[in-house]
């Protein structure tokens, strides 16, 4: 056991944009996956409407809970930036709180989404609309979990002393991916819940 950790040499500075650029591409890929699913969803819905079929049964999808998710994610967008800002200011307690809060919001969104899915009573093998509803929400949940895991791992590194005024890229990258996942939901919200 090193008797002291205060006397060790500081790590070399890394290129501050590497992780961010990588995350940028990854977020783009994630967004495109989501748009890919959404495209099929919207397309099939339009076809069904043109054919005069019912997409969702009337009144099954309520706007309330989905709206809450919307606002939760708006809040989370702020908390995650709060974390970035705090780590930039080397304000670690604030950063930890903000990261934990964001993770909690993520869990809340998951919870609400789960409620919505159960609330609809849809079946995978039901109608086309129900099936695609599952695909959409399921894909979103996968990315949401991904974002929360990214945040959690970032938090882990932050807890073990990484990131700070000179190197905030990890937290900023987690935030970037988080925003991308938020965008996915906002698009979904309009596409599925508002314009049913």
């Amino acid at each position: 056991m090193t008797a002291t950790t205060t006397q060790l040499a500081a790590p070399a500075i890394r290129r501050p944009r590497t992780v961010l650029v990588g995350t940028m591409f990854a977020s783009g890929a994630a967004l495109m996956t989501y748009f890919g699913v959404l495209a099929v969803y919207v397309s099939e819905r339009a076809d069904a409407r043109d054919a005069g079929e019912e997409w969702f049964p009337e009144g099954v999808i309520e706007l309330g809970p989905s709206g809450w998710i919307f606002w939760t994610l708006v809040l989370a967008a702020f908390t995650v930036q709060w974390a970035v800002q705090a780590i930039r200011n080397d304000d670690r307690p604030n950063a930890y709180i903000a990261l934990a809060l964001t993770g909690m919001f993520g869990a809340a969104v998951f919870n609400q989404l789960w409620f919505i899915i159960n609330d609809t009573g849809f079946a995978l093998a039901g109608t086309q609309g129900q099936f695609l509803f599952f695909v959409m929400t399921g894909t979103y949940i996968v990315f949401l979990i991904g974002a929360v895991v990214f945040l959690a791992l970032t938090t882990m590194r932050a807890l073990f002393g990484q990131f700070g005024p000179s190197q905030d890229d990890g937290v900023a990258a987690a935030a970037m991916f988080w925003h991308a996942v938020s965008v996915m939901y906002w698009v979904t919200w309009i596409a599925i819940f508002v314009t049913k």
Binding site: A9, P11, R14, F35, L38, S43, G161
Partner: protein, 267 residues
């Protein structure tokens, strides 16, 4: 000042947007639908329109980010950090975790088809890899001293790794030996038991004599275990269906549920 990267990605954005609008109108878009994301009037073929718009959106984000970073030019990055120059990368230690992660991902893929046990195994492997990988990434940059970094990493992770690895090793041994015993005849089991004991003893002697194992041997073991996981999954799929009665039941239940749900939905 528009940077090269910005020009490229913003060019993509413009082209894809124009493409989307044109595509929208040419595939039956009406009114101002294609230019207003379908706010009024149809957008034509939804798949093409949305993918084009999505691509435009993503590349617009790329453009915005990359211009904010000034193309991540080395000069811009150094300026941001307030230093003269930053080396492109810092040394990264070799690690088994990426390859184990790939095997974990493969196990998850197999598990999605073959059954939940393999999937859960893959998930567990991937979760472990995520944590270990994170801690490796952490340790690589904890201090500027590679030796100290390794020491720090071991200090944090060894309390988990050694017990878990030990438990896993024992579990694998016990499981494998029990399969053999169950498979063999009465006398054969005795012979096997003796043989396994001798092998373990021999390996023990070997390790005691040469505590610094050849790294290629370790690599071979990792690869073998990874292949065994995959092979195990396939074997479970091929052979396991008769052994594990639940497998068939699960499917039955799923179908049953589906039907009842369908019935409800159609009401």
């Amino acid at each position: 000042m528009f940077t090269t990267g910005f020009k490229f990605f913003f060019g993509l954005t413009i082209a894809l947007t124009i493409g989307a609008v044109a595509y929208g109108y040419s595939t039956g878009g009406e009114h101002v639908g294609p230019v207003t994301l379908g706010w009024k009037g149809g957008v034509g073929d939804h798949v093409g329109y949305l993918v084009l718009i999505g691509g435009a959106f993503a590349s617009a984000c790329f453009a915005g980010i990359i211009v904010a970073f000034r193309d991540a030019d080395p000069a811009a990055q150094s300026h941001y950090m307030g230093v003269e120059a930053i080396a492109p990368t810092t040394p990264v230690t070799g690690s088994f975790w990426p390859v184990i992660g790939a095997f974990g991902g493969a196990a998850m893929v197999l598990g999605l088809v073959l059954g939940s046990a393999v999937f859960v195994l893959g998930l567990v492997i991937c979760s472990l890899v995520a944590i270990e990988w994170t801690m490796d990434a952490w340790a690589d940059r904890a201090t500027g001293d590679a030796e100290a970094n390794k020491a720090l990493r071991d200090r944090i992770m060894a309390p988990f790794e050694i017990p878990v690895a030990g438990a896993l090793g024992v579990a694998v041994m016990a499981l494998a030996a029990s399969r053999i015993f169950l498979n063999a005849t009465k006398l054969g089991a005795v012979v096997w038991a003796g043989l396994i004991a001798v092998i373990i003893f021999g390996l023990g002697i070997l390790y005691a004599a040469r505590p610094k194992m050849n790294k290629n041997v370790i690599a071979g073991l990792v690869l073998a275990v990874g292949v065994a996981v995959i092979a195990g999954g396939i074997v479970t799929a091929v052979d396991g269906q008769r052994d594990f009665e639940h497998h068939g039941d699960d499917h039955g239940e799923e179908h049953g549920e589906d039907h009842s749900e369908e019935g409800e939905a159609s009401e």
